[in-house]
Symmetry: C2
Subunit: 335 residues, 2 copies
Amino acid sequence: MTDDGTTLAGRGEAGLLGDVLAAYRDLPTDGVLVGPGDDTALLAVRRGAVLATTDTVVRDRDWRDEWSSAQDVGIKVVTQNLADLAAMGGRGTGLLVALAAPPTLPMDWARGLSEGIATAAGMAGVPVLGGDVSSTASDAVMVAVTALGELADGVQEPVLRGGVRPGDVLAVSGPLGRSGAGLALLEGGASVGRDEQERRLLDHHRRPVVDLEQGPVAARAGATAMIDVSDGLVRDSDRVARAGGVTLVLDRGALERLAAQLVPALPASGALRQVLAGGEEHELLATFPAASAVPAGWTVLGQAVAADGADGPPGVRLDGSRLDPATGGWDHFGG
Amino acid sequence: MTDDGTTLAGRGEAGLLGDVLAAYRDLPTDGVLVGPGDDTALLAVRRGAVLATTDTVVRDRDWRDEWSSAQDVGIKVVTQNLADLAAMGGRGTGLLVALAAPPTLPMDWARGLSEGIATAAGMAGVPVLGGDVSSTASDAVMVAVTALGELADGVQEPVLRGGVRPGDVLAVSGPLGRSGAGLALLEGGASVGRDEQERRLLDHHRRPVVDLEQGPVAARAGATAMIDVSDGLVRDSDRVARAGGVTLVLDRGALERLAAQLVPALPASGALRQVLAGGEEHELLATFPAASAVPAGWTVLGQAVAADGADGPPGVRLDGSRLDPATGGWDHFGG
């Protein structure tokens, strides 16, 4: 739709809800026993338990209007919620969307947000069950999404962070550092990519799309632990290591091959930093009992070893040193 | 806890999460297969389907710090979510809590919020399954709660808004107008009640507590439609009337008896206005196929009649006139 200059206040709550629900009209309705419009939704649960997670994005913290469209924000907030479900071996079955925004927010932005949410939900085959609209007194804009889901077919137990054991192999479902590289390009003034590589990196920062089915694939392959890369490889690996009481030893060669995919958009040192510390990637990071169990298309990154006293507490190591999760290890790479 | 002057930024995300989870430690854990701390929660669902709703509160819109404590805000946001479940004939089985706040927010406030959430969740026997913490760039503070639930024992179908039929009796589970009266007292400068009545009204505005079990009670009694009074009797009745295609005729005598409970804290005309238009009450409003079906303790407010062309479209009527949901009807009462 084109910008007609209307704000939320001008359109009114009923008009806003009508526009929002129109954007969700073509989403699947499998399992939706009661949809938007009543006091609550009612969603069928086939497998005796529901997965539930919530993730919020805030303007000027999680996105900047000059760099990201409303559609981008909608895709991003849905992807990060669905990636959390995938990281349990699950798939989405429903979304709840809460928007808090000032009355001066352009309706065009609110419609764009709904279109982005519908795009990402549609790719995953997930309905929007309901939501809430609130006004803010300041100019804050916040989108809180709750994703419900269930364990995918063939997955008997959720894959938790703490199931890793010494000897397990660490692997990732796709590239790393793209979102961080895209952000670095934006901060460097390159909001329009100068070539196909830069455009892909910018796209992944603005509207990350990952193959969420790889979560169930990993679970069926026997993944012992899993998490999605939302805060960077080192921080998220460190969470797995500490939850499982092991040390994860990263393989420099594997990291450098991933970093090479970000060059020449970034210089080599910056590329390695983004592979280690770049967040909002949302690829899946998992451990497997053997290299032969790692699914096709995944990249082996290292191995779990027993955390013994000599090497300090559980954590992530590279080239014999522990990587600090607070910095994503980048102090070790010339800052 | 006492205020130690620490802010969110000073305490850090890990410290904040630790304090928040400590507040929830004594809540029941029935059905919680995976709780806070992993990518998602996993909640058992006994009855084949999950109820889901989300409701957000925003500082300076839904509460003012000079009038409401953090504990009040926590109780209020949980109550309004659980009341939505009750209005389907359901009960809560889990909560997700998202807080977005500036780094300067006092930790004491965040702890108080969690204590209030724990208080209301504890009264309802509902665990906190997980959540999210985000920082805001402005001074906005927002709390988004998602409540999951299931139909209560003995309730076979959700009670929707649209099930009302001509001849049904309209009733409410408790008093009306208390929250609106409490707000009117605050706006009049009476932040400390001058007597027991005023204190009760102020309490219900700040931290509404309702008997959520009345939702399942009504459902088992054969309620044909139900909603909780969040936006005022007229607006919420109007929703039921339009959803069911009927006219709901209110009984002036019943309204005046409810209004009398707000006098002398409010003058009689103001009291009737609050009964009609006062929001955030969260008592349950339901229709029943006969007066004999109305549960003990509920108050009959009127009756559903066929909406015929002569009286205009479906809506709410009093003394022969349609009440405007946009104003809660108060234009008809001398404004």
